[in-house]
Symmetry: C2
Subunit: 448 residues, 2 copies
């Protein structure tokens, strides 16, 4: 329909979203593909899982975000591979989406490091359905314990979180508050002292990338609030009713929340490109793929590294900046200019530990300011509210946070199951959807 250069963006996460926005006024046609019709604000998934926010409040439909961007097209679909020869992205429904330039930004899934039983029995925090179903599972355990208190002795209310990074710490803090402040009002006849949050970390400290002071502070706060923090502890095996540590110790639990690590989306394995650590795609310093210069990678999938050769962390800020960078490089290529290297502007680190308690460590370029406690907590809330996508979501989340804070309540305590989309099955199997056989609606080639 258009003779303009066609830019296809795979993924509606931070990287994809900011890439598309950066192309708003460019003389190109943008087509975004995602398995969902919405963007998920992953940093707040743990709040959905702990009943603080509703799923709809941290997701925003992609088409709404781009209503005013005339060159924007959207296609809901599951990408199964790229036909580099034909320069087309292949979808599970048989469609081939041609591109002149490509930005791959499909994100990451959990990494189980080959530990048996994690995939089958673990709960993850990368998609909306995972968060909703974890919330339902947690609340359901309390319903079951209330109906049959003899289950308490079987450890039905042991909640184990593996991984002491920001996700694990935030989840542990939010969970213990749910038990202490909210659920006692719901379950007056249940002995909630049996409910336990256990945080396991392999290293000998929490929050690895943070300063010694922040690490200690996080541990102190969590322990004071009742979390059992166990450092230097490695999981060997996970079963449906218990997990086994490397030491041989058995912890009875039906709730293993896996926050120990992530890997690039398995789509990377179907691309026929060279991979770096964590299954990330090896890229040039301008984020293009060495073998295919019109294709760029941004976000959790990109194997880009800093000057000292360390891969960039898989966080929202890197994804946002890489998304923008990839978009700009495409415009440079179209204009016949040379591309430039990606440099990460590190703004710093921020994590919330719970009510009134957060840590924020701004980078040196932002004066190296550090906040802890109430101020760290407040700045975390503020920053997350700003980055949240969708005006109405921001209003709703703000109201919910204010309500939760002042009422010591959490609103979203419904037990409902969300069905994972077909593309999300990759999270449970670690495998991409198989290539579809041609179907009725098989389009040989789609133009846009």
């Amino acid at each position: 329909m258009s003779s303009k250069a066609r830019v296809v963006i795979v993924g509606a996460g931070f990287a994809g979203l900011y890439a598309a926005k950066a192309l708003k006024k460019a003389p190109v046609t943008v087509l975004m593909i995602d398995q969902h019709n919405y963007h998920t604000f992953q940093p707040l998934l743990y709040q959905v899982a702990t009943a603080g926010l509703e799923a709809g409040e941290i997701a925003h439909q992609v088409r709404a975000t781009f209503q005013k961007q005339k060159n924007f097209y959207f296609r809901q679909g599951i990408v199964i591979r790229v036909d580099w020869q034909e320069r087309a992205v292949m979808l599970e429904d048989g469609a081939a989406i041609p591109f002149d330039y490509l930005i791959l930004a499909a994100g990451a899934i959990y990494h189980d490091f080959g530990i048996p039983g994690v995939r089958q029995n673990g709960f993850f925090l990368k998609t909306l359905s995972e968060a909703v179903n974890l919330r339902s599972h947690i609340l359901k355990q309390f319903e079951r314990a209330d109906a049959d208190p003899s289950l308490l002795e079987k450890g039905i209310l042991n909640f184990v979180i593996v991984g002491g990074g920001p996700t694990g710490v935030e989840m542990a803090g939010a969970l213990v508050e749910l038990f202490d402040l909210v659920l006692p009002k719901d379950f007056p006849h249940l002995d909630l002292s049996k409910a336990k949050v256990i945080l396991l970390e392999m290293q000998d400290h929490l929050l690895a990338p943070y300063s010694e002071t922040s690490r200690k502070y996080a541990q102190k706060i969590l322990e004071r609030r009742g979390v059992e923090v166990r450092l230097g502890t490695t999981v060997a095996r996970v079963g449906p009713h218990e997990l086994e540590l490397k030491s041989g110790e058995i912890i009875p639990t039906e709730t293993l929340i896996w926050a120990a690590g992530i890997r690039a989306h398995p789509l990377v394995n179907a691309l026929g490109v060279e991979l770096a650590n964590g299954y990330r795609i090896n890229v040039n310093d301008d984020l293009s793929i060495p073998e295919y210069n019109q294709a760029f990678v941004a976000g959790d999938m990109a194997g880009a590294s800093d000057k000292s050769g360390r891969l960039y962390p898989q966080v929202a800020q890197v994804a946002i900046q890489q998304g923008k960078h990839a978009a700009k490089q495409i415009l440079k290529l179209i204009g016949g200019e040379k591309t430039t290297a990606f440099h990460y502007f590190d703004k710093g680190l921020m994590a919330i530990i719970g009510r009134n308690a957060g840590v924020a460590e701004l980078s040196k370029r932002l004066l190296g300011l550090r906040f802890r406690g109430f101020l760290g907590w407040l700045s975390w809330l503020f920053i997350h509210l700003i980055y949240l996508v969708g005006y109405q979501n921001r209003v709703q989340v703000f109201i919910d946070w204010a309500y939760n804070y002042f009422s010591y309540d959490r609103h979203a305590r419904l037990i409902t199951q969300m069905r994972p989309s077909p593309g999300e099955l990759v999270n449970k199997t670690g495998k991409l959807a198989t290539e579809a056989s041609p179907t009725e609606s098989n389009n040989t080639k789609v133009t846009f």
Copy 2:
């Protein structure tokens, strides 16, 4: 645990909720059983299905509602029958819940009147998962049409609603507005003039219980806004891609929304009691079951009738008043008093047709006032906000309504699938869950 009389309430709908509340200060122990841990505000399900409200905004966790009621207990479970001899309610998980007094209030499901294909291919509006999945289906049809416009010719955007009562009229009005006001901004490249809402009604007028003026007004407004209203039209058969009318005419559609009627929950068939029309339980005029005087029925399940012998309508107001009445009769029995007959205080009728358009017909006892248009619309919103359960839900719904009204937008456009709970399968099969074989957690008898 208590020597007080044990009142078991089956169902957390309007009838169950108001019955439990009426027992707040009574010297009894109340145990409510529901398959969900939340109450669903059914009158607003159609707004969830048309992307106006989020599912969580019209549902409220039962335990939160009764946090301050000391004599209240809750059990999430699926009731499969009543053991009248042992005076116990039997759950699917094998538990037997003993009662001294019983209030049956499990509500209703759709009634397909034996028309082939309705059950398999129809969409219903009685549970949260049905509403969420209908919304996803509707939005997904637009995504499919956008990806492959040739599907338009196959009627992929024909949305057929069967039943011209309040539910059908409200759904038709909300749906046509979604197409006209909201989706064109999402789908600028799609010919939305092909999207059609067809409302089929067997009788020769819409809104049967209303006055002639209201009926005509509703039809006029719907038609002016683009709904194809077809009166005197009966469905003979429904397939996955089309439906057949009694006349032999075929309407291509993949979206049949069934608002033609409801029947009492199939639990009634497992009780061994006498049934009235619509599978409702035959009751004495005090709402007790003739064969079992300590058991009462309230809401959509109750086969109570007015002086002229007509069954009461299956609406919220009747359920609320019957729930309260049943609770009071139990207190009378405990106090050794005689029970009294139920009399419905009819406040009138109210339906919304769409933006700025509603009809309200108050009963004679409320001066017989009638509003149409903007005032009818406003009073509908006001009344529904008041009856909505949960303070925070009220705030959120109010904000959403204001936002939707002034922005001509609808916030909740995520395509997500909600998994029906095991107990909801009755809606798709018309059959109760089979009696469970004794399981590990099989409790012979539960005390509370």
